[in-house]
């Protein structure tokens, strides 16, 4: 029982962590709480679903299609909505509010286009039935999820630390003006981060959609609430913190649902968020900071 719960927690937690990585990355670089980020969960999942149903693609090809579509949508959305505000040097609250309007707009449009009902991937896509490994009952898709998340996280860390674009992204996150003076193309970095983070969000959406075999226009909203808890607890913009906090939140949720009450599961993220703000307002690994005169 406990082993099974821990395994389920690992599956859930790794998807949470993947989702929150992109969320915290956007904040770290663009300095914007981008609520549209939740929309890319459903956008990616729907694009993958369309690719399976209308284009007849297989699991991996459809997944890649969904991820790329969501990434491109994000580049366009950010260009239309956030770039004008960045140029005008608008306060950070304006950017938050504009993405709030944006996500309401996009989610409602999506519901008008696709309908509110839950859609499912065809059964053939999900592979064989669950297998028993020792004390664990494991669905093949759960193994796909864990493997995908770990490969992507490793790639992300390698990309951020070892490549030219990754270094440029970190430079812009640190000091955008200085980075621009050093010859970093800030516009390109911003577009790259938009694409990359939406791609992570869409991947999480597709994995969640496959895991529960349910895709619907508002599937990003519960993810966003968890995402907020994770990036606050992990520290805004802190990639390593998001990874730890994401796994921890998955663990807490599964344990609460398993041993306390499944109704309370929905409250775990919010409670963690408020406690985090009271106890560690700068995140798990954060140092005190703040604007001083």
């Amino acid at each position: 029982m406990l082993a099974q719960q821990l395994f389920n927690a690992l599956v859930l937690g790794s998807v949470h962590a993947l989702f929150a990585l992109g969320f915290t990355l956007t904040f770290g670089v663009l300095r914007v709480i981008n609520l549209l980020y939740g929309f890319y969960v459903a956008a990616g999942a729907f694009a993958a679903l369309v690719a399976v149903q209308s284009l007849g693609l297989g699991l991996w090809a459809a997944g890649a299609f969904g991820v790329v579509v969501a990434g491109l949508v994000a580049v366009v959305c950010d260009f239309l909505v956030l770039t004008p505000l960045r140029r005008a040097k608008a306060p950070e609250l304006s950017s938050l509010i504009v993405t709030l309007g944006g996500v309401l707009l996009m989610n409602s449009l999506m519901q008008i286009v696709f309908g509110a009902e839950v859609r499912r991937f065809p059964a053939r896509l999900l592979g064989q039935d669950a297998v028993t490994i020792g004390p664990l009952v494991v669905a093949p898709i759960q193994l796909v999820i864990i493997a995908t998340v770990f490969v992507l996280v490793a790639l992300l860390f390698w990309f951020m630390e070892r490549t030219r674009l990754g270094t440029a992204i970190r430079a812009v996150a640190e000091r955008p003006d200085t980075a621009a003076l050093m010859g970093v193309n800030v516009g390109l970095v911003v577009a790259g981060v938009s694409f990359l983070s939406a791609a992570l969000s869409a991947t999480a959406g597709i994995l969640i959609g496959l895991n529960f075999n349910a895709v619907h226009p508002y599937m990003g909203e519960p993810m966003m609430l968890r995402g907020f808890a994770i990036i606050i607890i992990g520290g805004l913009g802190d990639i390593r913190g998001a990874l730890v906090a994401g796994l921890a939140l998955g663990f807490l949720e599964v344990m609460t649902a398993g041993y306390v009450s499944s109704n309370l599961k929905e409250a775990v993220a919010f409670t963690a968020l408020i406690l985090g703000l009271w106890l560690r307002p700068n995140g798990l690994f954060g140092r005190a900071s703040g604007k001083r005169a």
Binding site: L85, G101, G102, S108
Partner: protein, 280 residues
């Protein structure tokens, strides 16, 4: 003449009452936005007030003024707990702390039988009258206007313009922010109770994310440079869907679009984050 007015009130009663309660909600958002803070918990605070009020009326039969006072106080307490830790942090943190409140409460209402569960509470007696709603709106509006013209108003403007500078000038920024949040939660709770006592029904799904964004759109459209802004915004956005019934499905799309367009094309003017003082 009186007969026509009565007729008008009767056939459009819920719309007219809705204009009043939504204007109070717009002002509740104004209370925090004018400090450069953003609360996304206004719908949740409204829901706490609505449930508190409805339960006190239905179960205990308390007199209406007492019900309204309690409906304002309970969400104010919730605001202290949730907003408390964010007062020394940026405005973004308050938004993050409050955004999940509605969803958590929704699940709580559904799973609590004493609160009517998924069916909600119905048969709430109609105790809100035109005089009570618009009388309270007038008092609240007058309070905000007086405050904005006093020392308090200038302090709020200083905080919104530059928090660090305001602090240096000796303004207790955290106290101002906390007070604003508590007032805003109390007003939202009051509006919720007023609303529950004329619609006769409240349900767990009425106070979720969409409702929070609608309340924000009242203040964004009207602007927060004067307290009249959110009232005007609430009037326009409450009346408009009635006039545009054929487009009812696009109501949320429209709400989202208004926010996006106003913030991008009138970022400083209507939001009023950087108002230039004209004259003295």
């Amino acid at each position: 003449m009186m007969a026509t007015l009565d007729d008008l009130l009767w056939s459009y009663q819920s719309l007219i009452y809705g204009l009043g309660t939504n204007a109070i909600l717009g002002l509740s958002m104004y209370a925090v936005l004018q400090l450069g803070q953003l609360s996304l918990g206004q719908a949740a605070f409204m829901g706490i007030g609505a449930y508190t009020g409805a339960l006190l009326t239905l179960r205990l039969g308390l007199p209406f003024p007492l019900v309204l006072a309690a409906a304002a106080m309970v969400p104010a307490l919730a605001a202290l707990v949730i907003g408390g830790p964010t007062m020394k942090l940026s405005g973004v943190h308050l938004a993050i702390a409050t955004i999940g409140l509605g969803e958590v409460l929704r699940v709580a209402y559904i799973n609590t039988d004493a609160m009517g569960g998924a069916l909600g509470l119905s048969g709430i007696p109609e105790k809100s009258t035109f005089a009570i709603i618009f009388g309270l709106l007038a008092v609240i509006l007058a309070g905000f206007i007086l405050a904005s013209r006093s020392k308090i108003g200038r302090a709020c403007e200083a905080i919104r313009e530059d928090e660090a500078a305001a602090r240096v000038m000796g303004i207790d920024v955290s106290a101002y922010k906390m007070t604003a949040l508590v007032i805003s939660a109390a007003l939202a709770g009051l509006a919720g109770a007023l609303n529950a006592h004329f619609s006769s029904f409240i349900g767990p799904n009425e106070f979720a994310f969409e409702a929070a964004v609608s309340i924000l759109s009242f203040a964004i459209l009207g602007g927060v440079t004067t307290p009249f802004g959110p009232v005007l915004g609430a009037f326009v956005l409450t009346a408009l869907p009635e006039l545009l019934r054929p487009f009812h499905d696009f109501r949320l799309v429209f709400n989202g679009l208004i926010i996006v367009l106003v913030v991008i094309f009138l970022p400083r003017g209507i939001l009023g984050f950087r108002i230039r003082r004209t004259g003295g």
